[in-house]
Symmetry: C2
Subunit: 206 residues, 2 copies
DNA sequence: CCGTGTCAATACGGCGCCGTATGGAACCGC
DNA sequence: GCGGTTCCATACGGCGCCGTATTGACACGG
């Protein structure tokens, strides 16, 4: 007795392990211990399964994560929370790299592009919360997002180089990322970095 | 009259356009205007074609690039040269992202891992040239390498966000990268960032 | 002319996958 | 019991690809 959600979950696993092209109906059916007959009851075709998997992915790795980060109100703490949240799951890393390198079905690319835009905009908002202007915030957001994406790949290609949340060196790395990925104190006289009227200058915390 | 090099070149194109799994003998043969009969004269099988393509890729995108960057002797100028070199080709970006997300043949993953290690070590040497200790240089190298890898993906997923070498905004971005990806002046009294050259950097294994 | 080497076309068997069609077992209300 | 619904199994045709013959066209030196 499977539900369509079970299939979507299995498809997401398959994406992480074998890539988007590795999402094949019959192998997944074997993994689930059933046959294709079950699949074509729940889904119209393979493409529908991919769409369901993508929706699951966006809900978990974007909606939920951003919601958790948003609960942090202090701008600096929010960025730090973002960095740690995003470096947590190893499974999510594999899925992300697999998705963002998909080529075959056009709608997968569109989907990834839309989600990436959402994430980048959110990071930009985080930096804007520090008092940066839109342009400068966008630059920093691109930097931070790039480091995130690059870290995913490094964790995959060079395991051991980039620490994960369960390793002791992880705290040091987050600190290192914070000092390089967060612009130095804006409250000082070095306010030339803000390219627009700073609505409210964020106070620094500890 | 084709040479095995022509096939390898076409395979590299196929990797950039359709991914590693998209390297299929018969479609490439159609692209080249011949049939499989030609292919199996030059190569034993599909795997041999992939190996040839990977060798071509390493020679062009690692050996040659690192050689050009090495000609820059000044440490800061060398890092800047590295950043600009590496952000030049759009084709190379697509190939890299496709390769670094391959899953199917194990030897492709091994190959990418080895090349990634070469690149990362080179970047670390660049930072060591600034006077940084091994540990600190490794951290900065991981940052810079991550930004490079992330930029590849952003150029692909969010075209227009990250400028390419032919756009006018490219110069500004390189400058921005330089100030954030190069530690502040070490010649000053703030030499605490150097980790004082420990005897062996055995902390990091292979 | 003949033999040999080079490069490519054609034909074939096989495999893994997609999607459809059909059947069947379990459960439901009645 | 009986039709209906739900969920899955089985069987089939088709496609795209791999790899292996086998044959052919075109050079070249003898």
């Amino acid at each position: 007795m499977l539900t369509s959600r079970d299939w979507a979950e299995a498809a997401l696993d398959a994406i992480g392990q074998r890539g988007v092209e590795g999402v094949a109906v019959e192998p997944i059916a074997r993994d689930l211990g059933v046959t294709k007959g079950s699949f074509y009851w729940h889904f119209a075709n393979r493409e529908a399964l991919l769409v369901a998997a993508l929706q699951l992915w966006e809900a978990r790795e974007t909606d939920d994560v951003l919601e958790r980060v948003r609960q942090e109100t202090d701008p600096r703490a929010r960025i730090q929370r973002l960095i740690t949240e995003v470096n947590a799951s190893r499974r999510a890393s594999r899925i992300h790299t697999a998705l963002s390198s998909a080529t075959k079905p056009g709608f997968v690319r569109d989907y990834v592009e839309r989600v990436s835009k959402r994430r980048l905009d959110f990071i930009q908002d985080c930096y804007a919360g520090l008092g940066l202007g839109a342009e400068t915030a966008r630059r920093w957001a691109l930097m931070t997002f790039s480091v995130f994406l690059g870290a995913l790949q490094i964790r995959r290609d060079l395991p051991g180089e980039w620490p994960t949340a369960d390793e002791p060196a992880f705290g040091d790395y987050v600190k290192f990322l914070m000092v390089t990925l967060v612009p130095p104190d804006l409250d000082g006289d070095d306010a030339a970095t803000t390219d627009a009227a700073p609505a409210g200058t964020a106070a620094r915390n500890g």
